[in-house]
Symmetry: C2
């Protein structure tokens, strides 16, 4: 059996020396190296941006969608959408564990979700069984490889797979919120009625406590209704996150002019950097979980208004992120009901 | 006299509600509002990315460069390059101070450098006097406006203007380094032989101290020679920052396998996210000063290798950044000699 590199560099075909994520093409032969895990895949959860793009290119036709997906995997050895650059995650059963990983708390047959992007995961699709367009999920027959550095979570027994998938997809956000928010903080969550936003709302209120002031901002009627139903926010602001002036004014009022100690950006649209920067106090922190964040927009934007704020790039991985996020489903029944209603089929 | 908004929103023509930086067009009439400062401009220091783009489009012809620059300012009311999105900074003399800012430590006639981007500064060019291609500087006759939130530095008496400009251009990097580095840290500086890299190197060694281990990485011969001449680095690595595997291995060796506590990225090229993430230890910090950083590249890259690192967007502004950076020119004569040699005309 061949010895593999921790990060999977041994599977990169083009360009040489690159890591599997940025690589153009990787080797998806399903014979494992000594430090890999082989997975029999049940379901792919395609990243929302990627699936939307494929659906549009396929004119919504299911057979065309299947064709596009197979084409991507044939070309690249992984489901790495060349247009959006993004991947997704998968659910499957452990089929084989390389000898170097024998000490892990994992058995052949265990059901796991991979928590590294599909954009770097060697994948072989034998057959696409079903495309569930409404929730971006695709059932397949096929196999995938997890590298030694690849992270995963065993699926909990006490919730449906689709619920677990929804929670795990945005697991990094709640775990970072847990780290960033302190007792008594003014916390602003932008896009608080969305999937990651609601998890952050729960975690922020828990950490900020009774002396804290958690401000939930969202735009649409449905999102605001969800926030009200949760009963976690100390203040609710209905505003457009692309309008920094309106957001700034509302947050000034909601904090008696002190502004937010921590801003958490969970929206799914571009051009919300300034609405995150303006309402943050001097020396405050901004956590950009949104993948639509522009690096230069944030860097030049903060300089432009002379704001000394610490801006953090939303790392998808944080130690303990899956445990923290899945635990919320035990801690908060109202939140779980909303999630089951929205994300299970 | 009209009352202005702190951030200059009163000058935005298109789109309404936007801030001056992302705005398409702003009002550059040179009659000040009550909270603005009018500046007689001497020199524009065009952002390196922007100037390179203009030079290329103008085939290097000086008259064409002038034409391009005037076209940008005519269209947008500011020198905001539509291709690169970036600006630069300027030097000039204070011509008028709005009554609301009378208490500032500033007199009409003072020579200042603006520390907010030209991409948001109302500018009117009457005449372009001289284009100094080699250092991206352009002497003009014209005027500019600084908003209430706009930051600036009085030019020091004890150094040439061009030296001060060079230092102030990258002032945020050294000030952030001062905050991030602690005594005894393993610090990796990528692009340590460049303008911002050398300032970070000085500041990092000062903070990490004798028990610290400051590792300077760069690529070209000239850059490595400068690092050697400075004598600040505990270790020097000559490597290509687009090759993460090579960088990872060298840093492992240089830190006895502990990896870096803090990574500071000061390069001027894209695709260096992975070479910053891999050599950083778990729970370490990465400061991306480079404007060529990709947000998704960093976020998905760290997740892909299961690295729990804090990744910080290089805010151009940090409180005290100009004082900290200019002070380095007093503290370190070798560094000052190299800067004078490279950046003064
Ligand atoms: N960093 C990472 O590792 C990582 C991992 C996964 C996902 N993400 C990113 O995280 C982001 C959020 O994901 P998600 O699954 O939580 O998305 P989501 O469920 O669609 O939530 C987005 C929320 O933003 C709100 N919103 C949209 N436009 C708005 C506006 N103009 N003003 C105020 N609120 C607005 C939406 O409200 P409406 O319903 O009213 O439109 C919705 O509540 C995405 O950008 C995704 O790419 C990042
Ligand atoms: N965040 C902010 O507010 C802000 C403000 C100003 C500037 N910036 C950004 O900061 C960055 C650095 O600016 P600067 O003025 O310091 O640039 P610089 O003087 O050109 O320095 C860049 C350094 O990176 C090195 N480098 C280039 N390619 C490399 C490679 N493949 N491997 C290793 N090293 C490599 C260069 O070495 P060689 O000489 O050998 O090529 C040089 O020493 C730029 O991206 C700029 O946009 C950010």
């Amino acid at each position: 059996m061949n010895k593999g590199n921790k990060f999977g560099i041994h599977r990169v075909i083009k360009p040489v020396g690159a890591l599997p994520q940025p690589a153009e093409k990787i080797d998806n032969t399903m014979e494992i190296y000594d430090n890999e895990i082989l997975i029999d895949v049940d379901t792919l959860n395609i990243d929302s941006a990627s699936f939307t793009q494929i659906k549009e290119e396929a004119d919504g036709d299911i057979e065309n969608i299947k064709g596009k997906m197979l084409e991507i995997v044939n070309n690249r050895g992984k489901h790495h959408n060349p247009v959006t650059g993004s991947g997704g995650m998968l659910i499957g059963r452990v089929a084989e564990i390389g000898p170097k990983l024998k000490d892990r708390d994992l058995q052949v047959g265990d059901k796991i979700a991979t928590l590294v992007s599909l954009s770097l995961t060697p994948l072989n699709i034998e057959r696409i069984k079903e495309v569930r367009s409404a929730v971006d999920q695709v059932d397949i027959e096929g196999q995938a490889i997890l590298f030694e550095s690849g992270i995963y979570a065993k699926l909990p027994e006490d919730m449906s797979e689709t619920l677990a998938l929804a929670v795990l997809d945005v697991a990094g956000a709640a775990a970072q919120t847990a780290r960033l928010v302190n007792s008594g903080d003014n916390v602003l969550i932008i896009g608080a009625g969305g999937k990651s936003g609601m998890l952050c709302l729960h975690e922020a209120k828990k950490r900020a406590g009774v002396t804290g002031n958690v401000i939930a901002l969202d735009y649409g009627y449905e999102a605001i209704s969800r926030i009200k139903k949760l009963g976690l926010a100390d203040e609710i602001i209905q505003a457009d996150a692309t309008d920094p002036t309106a957001v700034y004014k509302s947050v000034q009022e909601a904090t008696d002019g002190n502004l937010a100690d921590i801003v958490i950006n969970c929206v799914n649209i571009p051009n919300t950097e300034m609405a995150s920067i303006l309402p943050c106090r001097d020396r405050g922190k901004i956590y950009f979980f949104s993948m639509a964040t522009s690096f230069t927009g944030a860097a030049l934007g903060a300089e432009g208004v002379g704001k000394d704020v610490e801006m953090i790039i939303g790392n998808g991985y944080t130690r303990g992120h899956s445990e923290i996020s899945l635990a919320i489903m035990q801690e908060n029944q109202k939140l779980r009901d909303i999630f089951e209603n929205l994300y299970t089929v």
